[in-house]
């Protein structure tokens, strides 16, 4: 199965600041430790899509998809994404991702071809082994359709 990431990636304030800036979000709980603490958080909180950030993700999607029989990563298209949180992810957490459920299925397309869908989950646990967030990705492979990812 896929290698997800080096074990134990620290979630850092600077990376949260950088990521939140890139998604144009100036919410003080992303950028200002004092504001986050005033809200009862241990430190700044990460945006919901933060676990897609490279240091945490570390090619997990590509490796997981590559491990699925008959799925060509180069012509697959990311079509949906979901994050489910057990608690807020904050700076100071140390996350380790591991593969969760994976399934693939086919659907007929309008043009009569077959489109192959893959759904896979990555479960991120904290330094105590507790689940913080589950990330679920859906990708589709449609022969002859635009290559995107």
């Amino acid at each position: 199965m896929a290698k997800i990431s080096p074990r134990g990636i620290p979630v850092e304030r600077g990376k949260i600041h950088e990521f939140a800036t890139a998604i144009l979000d100036d919410h003080p709980h992303y950028h200002d430790v004092e504001a986050a603490r005033a809200a009862g958080l241990p430190s700044v909180v990460a945006p919901p899509s933060f676990v897609m950030a490279g240091a945490l993700f570390e090619g997990a999607s590509v490796e997981t998809l590559a491990g699925i029989d008959g799925f060509d990563v180069r012509s697959a298209l990311h079509c949906a994404q979901e994050f489910v949180f057990e608690r807020p992810l904050c700076a100071g957490d140390v996350l380790t991702g591991s593969p969760g459920a994976t399934r693939s299925y086919e659907k007929g397309s309008g043009s009569g071809g077959r489109m192959k869908f893959v759904e896979f989950e990555i479960v991120y646990r904290d330094q105590n082994g507790d689940i913080v967030v589950r990330s679920r990705t859906t990708a589709v492979q449609a022969p002859g359709v635009e290559k995107a990812r």
Partner: protein, 139 residues
């Protein structure tokens, strides 16, 4: 900053205009996210893939859209955030985001709300459709 949960009702709406999004934003998101797929900053690579030019990462638009529940309820209140990618974001497009409460309910000892979300371009085309569940934040 924090929302008054007792006043949250089905049908409540929020929207904001994220302004014009372009190559600068694609490159900055590539760096911040680690997604260095060249389709988002290299026109030659985009043309080789059958596209007219570079286009934005779906997760960039999704991230901008997450600003609706984050600004409204606080980012710490997010229980679930889900998106589907519908259309390409081209350089120079204006992105506007919208969200509406579709359900308010109590689960355990906390109030929850389900939201529908969308990010559209200047023509009204949906770029990303989303859903979120938020819940009362208790430290």
């Amino acid at each position: 900053m924090s929302v008054d949960w007792a006043a949250v009702r089905v049908g409540d709406e929020r929207r904001f205009d994220a302004g014009e999004i372009g190559r600068f934003h694609f490159v900055r998101y590539a760096g911040a996210s680690g997604d260095f797929n060249p389709l988002h900053y290299d026109d030659a690579a985009a043309r080789d893939a059958g596209q007219q030019r570079v286009f934005g990462q779906g997760m960039l638009t999704a991230g901008i859209l997450s600003g609706i529940p984050a600004a409204w309820f606080g980012p710490e209140s997010l229980r679930r955030f889900a998106v589907r990618f519908r259309a390409r974001l081209w350089p120079g497009d204006r992105v506007s985001c919208w969200g509406r409460v579709v359900r308010v309910y109590r689960q355990g000892d906390r109030l929850h709300a389900d939201l529908l979300l969308s990010a559209k371009n200047q023509n009204g085309d949906v770029l990303v459709r989303g859903e979120a569940t938020v819940r009362e934040w208790r430290p």
